[in-house]
Symmetry: none
Subunit: 418 residues, 2 copies
């Protein structure tokens, strides 16, 4: 089986000048890896005719698939479309379906379409028009000399939609790709090196055709198993057998597999047990509520939350005792315990969660430096608090606290269900 090679070309001066980070190329790399297409090069170039045409010509020599992002807006500095027409030697013509789609896109939003936007429905005559349902710049697919090209907007969610709906399903129909099977084990509450120590013997005994990768993110580590072969069913069984072997060693850290997120896993636990949740967030300022409510259907188990950013609201709204605040301070075990119990009662929920800490960069003291955070969970007949000592970085502190609070709830839910 011939290896299918891909090159990713990102176009935009703003990428070269470092004004925005190109997250697209990384995401595309990961997705292509999952279907067995090998990325051999990533190229970033500016909004410049010569450079863009040169990059196309070079990529054609190296790769079977060329994926292009950016340079597709309606304004004058966007060159991708005219240069693709030039490169493939065809004119730009009106694609009635594309004009219709961009017109409908504006109409749906109750906005007037401009002449510039109508031109977004004019495309190189030699391309296949790929509808963009979430934006105004269409995708363009080209086939020439056994090379396959796709041009996509640089806006990440538009690019991802075009990749998922069109490119990723399309590639296996034009190439014979190897069978690669991935399974991701999601863990929380244990660091990468501790996890590696725990499962070293198992890892070393993995067969040659099953690879393990550690993918750490904030407070979480994903274990990705990748199996290579020819029969998918067989690979699935082999990977399942390996997971059964390792699971007893890490079971308390595992919250799900593959696309599961910590917030969706918790949603399922709550839904299945018919329980409800309320939150009192101080230092996390609404971040955890946002995570919980980002899950479709979360209204079934999320009652609501309060962000009592000052002591008077912790007292008046959530019912923290005035004596607790004056004696222990807002960032204390006693305060978060009372916040969790108070918000549980306020929203008539089965579980109450709370956070209070010094997110930084200011507000630290010798006794309670920046990064000191208390979190708590209250349920029927129990309360549990935990102290975290985090970093100097405000946003990191908020995000890591979010993961820790959700993990505390996860543990409470599992214990509660026993």
């Amino acid at each position: 089986m011939k290896l299918v090679k891909a090159e990713i070309i990102a176009i935009g001066d703003e990428l070269l000048y470092g004004q925005i980070v190109d997250t697209n190329s990384h995401w595309i790399s990961q997705e292509l890896d999952l279907i067995g297409v090998k990325v051999v090069r990533k190229t970033t170039i500016g909004d410049n005719r010569t450079d863009i045409l040169a990059a196309f010509a070079e990529a054609e020599k190296r790769a079977d698939v060329i994926l292009i992002t950016g340079g597709l807006g309606p304004t004058q500095d966007d060159l991708t479309k005219p240069l693709m027409a030039e490169y493939f030697g065809c004119g730009i013509i009106e694609f009635p379906r594309a004009v219709e789609a961009v017109t409908a896109f504006f109409k749906q939003r109750g906005r007037e379409i401009t002449p510039l936007n109508i031109l977004q429905g004019h495309l190189p005559s030699c391309c296949t028009y790929v509808p963009n349902e979430v934006g105004t710049a269409p995708g363009m697919w080209f086939e020439k000399n056994n090379r396959y090209w796709m041009s996509m907007p640089g806006v990440p969610h538009e690019m991802k939609k075009l990749m998922k709906d069109f490119v990723l399903p399309k590639l296996p129909t034009v190439f014979s790709l190897p069978v690669i099977y991935h399974k991701v084990i999601k863990t929380v509450g244990i660091g990468e090196s501790w996890l590696a120590d725990l499962i070293r013997d198992w890892e070393n005994a993995l067969p040659e055709h099953i690879r393990l990768a550690y993918l750490p993110s904030l407070g979480q580590v994903k274990l990705r198993l990748t199996a290579f072969g020819t029969v998918r069913k067989k690979l699935e069984q082999e990977v399942a057998a390996q997971i059964a072997l390792v699971l007893p060693q890490i079971t308390s850290y595992v919250y799900g597999y593959d696309e599961e997120t910590l917030e969706s896993a918790i949603g399922k636990l709550l839904k299945n047990s018919g329980k409800t949740l309320a939150l009192a967030e101080s230092c996390t300022g609404g971040y955890i509520s946002h995570l919980v409510t980002s899950i479709p259907g979360s209204s079934a188990y999320f009652n609501g939350s309060v962000v009592p950013y000052h002591n008077q609201f912790k007292e008046n709204l959530v019912g923290v005792k005035s004596e607790t605040l004056s004696a222990q301070g807002a960032v204390s075990e006693e305060t978060v315990l009372e916040m969790a119990q108070g918000v549980k009662k306020l929203f008539g929920a089965d579980f109450g969660l709370s956070s209070s800490g010094i997110a930084g960069p200011d507000g630290g003291t010798e006794e309670k430096p920046v990064g000191t955070v208390w979190i708590a969970c209250a349920g029927e007949g129990f309360v549990e608090a935990k102290k975290l000592q985090l970093s100097q970085d405000r946003l990191l502190n908020i995000q890591i606290t979010g993961v820790a609070v959700l993990n505390l709830l996860r543990i409470c839910l599992i214990q509660n269900n026993k």
Copy 2:
């Protein structure tokens, strides 16, 4: 003055397979931009002899400065050093100072040096050895045919140290560098094509040495002006004059410049006017509170928020009338107006903001389809509501509503200050 062009080459299989994000290239871009070196291309390639040598040869044709990261570890899959020796046609020899440095590095950390690590002090004879004080792989500087090459480790803090200590001070000594000045105008509440229509005449009349780029993101568009010249002060004045020309046409959309975010701009407006804020978030579920509290020092103007996810809490906690909810429904102008007024009162704030909508993917009706959102702002003696008709995507709807609510507050604050 000749434009000095740079290419950044990142080497490593892990970058192509999407296992780690290349943050180095972005950082290097920003630093080179500041000293007037123009990055013309970024290339990412794997640990592969042919690809690396080809990338070197291509880069030499395009660029005056070639900065290489990665592929410098002690193991066999790290190819940068031998291939640079091969490319420049020289042998690898012991650099006694480099061997000394790597030996000292291990000694200082109380660890035994291995034979593999000693070899890190052996370098191509044609390079200038650049000490790496924070790691074991040295930097290597090459000069040939008026091209300047630097090879650095891929570990971000090691690369940054070598850039700051050596490359960035070195480049102005070997080139006569131009001055490049950037200014970014941040706008909200107007789409890219409308903005382009508004300012077309001004854009077309920009002088040759000042370029404009549109950088759109969710609900916002950045306008980046880039000026090229020799005297920074003069460029700053010229760009300021251009901004003064365009500002009257777009002033109501402009919330700030450069690193300003919408939430930090609002923070400044609130702080400067000594006003405070409270939020009642239904469909946005805490997201806007998170944005507001992500700004250091936000406790000075953010009193708190409530996420009343069910009607009973909109009624009991925020004071929406039972009749309003039964007659108009939770997603209605009347409800968001009462929510904004109610939460303003609950937290004793100067401004109350609210959101209520059908974020999706479920819950839509014919009359109120998914994506129907009402938002409101209440201040002293005024209230204002606005309807949004958004997409099918839950997270996008939450994020775009967040931008719209903050923009509504911005407008209210400006009107209030008049």
